[in-house]
């Protein structure tokens, strides 16, 4: 039932590539079964693992990175290669990583291969998280695939999680997003310094609410059907360091890279230089995963270098900094990171960065800035508060008040969320998720 719904959902979004997902499911299922430790010899298992890695990553590389490759070759060679890059199948980055985690864990003997093809297909194609994560490890939901217990209580808890995600996306991300599009489209000479900051902060908030809203919806939907997925975001913008930011941002991806790249490379156990190398490799790949373009590689390396610096020199000193300084330091570097993330050309990114730092002689503030930013005041405030754990803390303190105040308030709150989300969804035209392209 759920598998049928999942395949329908995928076919709905991406009719041309259902077959590709089918093939991926069948190949990984077969390899998983052959990899069973008890029946197959060591050399054979290694060979099978290699085949699976080549096929999965090859497929991802072809669909996601082929265009980037020919673009780069053309740029270096100066010629024009007349090859069209294939369209990117939705969710391929997510389901390829899920399939890989399954095959590698079977190879390591951490899990038993799934016997039922249907249940394996369900794991790969589960519709709540297929499109934009989180990346679910097979080991985490192995038992839930075959047997789930759904209660009305769990269903409504999942529903609430889903509503939070929907509201983050529809009420916050979709409304603050247009401000950034406007600022980004302005010619560099006309942007005042304050406007530049207002714009990139709007993007900072938009990408968080968009992506974490989508994750919340997926986690909530999963819970409504009896699955338990792990959290994917944990208030990333209250981080006290860049390393902490990456433990709070897109947690499932970070865990994946840690488990299947960082630790196999030796992690931090093989000396200083190997540690630096491993960190840089992981963040280069993290960047590349986010999109097939050099600016994402740069964005990844930027964070890799910052994390190396933190681990080598800053960590001890930062402990002595006041909390506010640590927070400012992290937020500043994160916001600057989004500049590299957003501009696909390095020159544009650097020139925007120049405006932010006031190095390009733009005016600090002008009438246009005030006219543009002022209507967003309330929205900025709501977004900033919603990005902190304060609302949750407030809710928890309400729980301690007697006479059912918490229950009444919570019910009213979620009814209001669906009411206003509906109004904003119907009131605007159809709006796709920006994380679709990753």
């Amino acid at each position: 039932m759920l598998i049928a719904a999942s395949l329908f959902f995928y076919a709905w979004g991406e009719p041309a590539y259902v077959l590709l997902m089918f093939i991926s499911i069948i190949i990984n299922y077969c390899i998983g079964s052959f990899l069973d430790k008890d029946t197959t010899g060591k050399r054979r298992r290694k060979l099978l693992l290699a085949i699976s890695l080549v096929l999965n990553l090859g497929c991802l590389a072809y669909y996601k990175y082929f265009g980037m490759l020919i673009g780069t070759i053309a740029a270096i060679g100066g010629g024009n290669l007349n090859t069209a890059a294939p369209a990117l199948p939705i969710g391929i980055s997510f389901y390829t990583f899920q399939a890989l985690s399954y095959v590698i864990d079977v190879y390591r003997g951490k899990i038993k291969p799934q016997k039922s093809l249907i249940l394996f297909a369900l794991y790969i194609s589960m519709f709540p998280q297929l499109v934009a994560g989180p990346i679910v490890n097979y080991a985490d939901i192995e038992s839930q695939l075959a047997e789930r217990h759904t209660t009305l209580r769990k269903f409504s808890t999942g529903l609430r999680c889903f509503l939070c995600g929907l509201a983050k996306k529809v009420l916050l991300a979709n409304n603050i997003g247009p401000l950034w599009s406007e600022v980004k489209a302005m010619p560099g000479t006309e942007i005042s310094v304050l406007m530049a900051w207002g714009g990139i902060i709007a993007f900072t908030l938009q990408i968080y609410f968009d992506f974490s809203g989508y994750s919340d919806m997926a986690i909530g939907l999963g819970k409504m059907f009896g699955f338990h997925f792990k959290e994917n975001f944990k208030y990333p913008y209250i981080s006290q360091s860049i390393s902490e930011f990456w433990r709070r941002w897109h947690i499932s991806l970070g865990t994946w890279f840690k488990e299947y790249v960082y630790i196999p490379l030796g992690g931090n156990r093989e000396g200083k230089w190997k540690l630096i190398r491993n960190i840089l490799i992981v963040w280069l790949l993290t960047g590349l995963w986010h999109g097939a373009s050099w600016n994402f590689v740069l964005w990844g390396l930027y964070f890799g270098i910052l994390i190396v610096l933190e681990r080598m020199f800053l960590q001890k000193r930062m402990k002595r900094w006041p909390k506010a300084i640590r927070l400012t330091y992290s937020l500043l570097l994160i916001v600057i990171g989004w500049v590299f993330f957003e501009f696909s050309s390095l020159t544009d990114a650097l020139s925007y960065l120049g405006i932010l730092l006031g190095a390009r002689g733009n005016v600090l503030i002008d009438a246009q800035t005030i006219a543009k930013l002022e209507p967003y005041t309330v929205l900025y405030l709501v977004c900033i508060i919603a990005a902190t754990p304060w609302p949750k803390k407030l809710a928890l303190s309400l729980k301690r008040v007697p006479c059912n105040l918490y229950k009444i308030a919570a019910n009213a709150y979620y009814c209001a969320l669906i009411f206003f989300s509906t109004a904003y969804m119907v009131g605007s035209t159809y709006n796709p998720f920006i994380y679709f392209r990753f």
């Binding site: 709905w12 041309a16 009305l152 209580r153 529903l159 669906i418 119907v426």
Partner: protein
């Protein structure tokens, strides 16, 4: 007596918790019951109708887009929702 009161309040609470879901279902049912409109006078444009089924349209994604605009164009009490949105924006001094 006390036990009964406790169970009724628990039952009431579990119903209250799924109200948003009931709301979504109601909207879907209303959408199916209410007749489709063809023209919106406020916007001076024709509203999207249920698209005809064709295989090539499904494959190029055209069908999907049509169905999605159909649902947003024919949403129950669409004008009411648009007004709510406008009112909210105005009270937040936004746009």
């Amino acid at each position: 007596m006390r036990i009964i009161r406790k169970t009724t309040s628990a039952a009431l609470q579990s119903i209250l918790r799924v109200i948003p879901f009931i709301f979504m279902l109601t909207m879907l049912i209303l959408h199916l019951i209410l007749p489709d409109k063809t023209f919106s006078e406020d916007e001076m444009r024709y509203l999207t109708q249920w698209p005809a089924f064709r295989v090539e349209r499904i494959l190029d994604g055209n069908y999907k887009t049509k169905v999605e605009t159909y649902f947003s164009d024919q949403f129950p009490f669409r004008i009411f929702w648009v007004h709510i949105k406008k009112g909210c924006n105005r009270s937040a001094n936004f746009a």
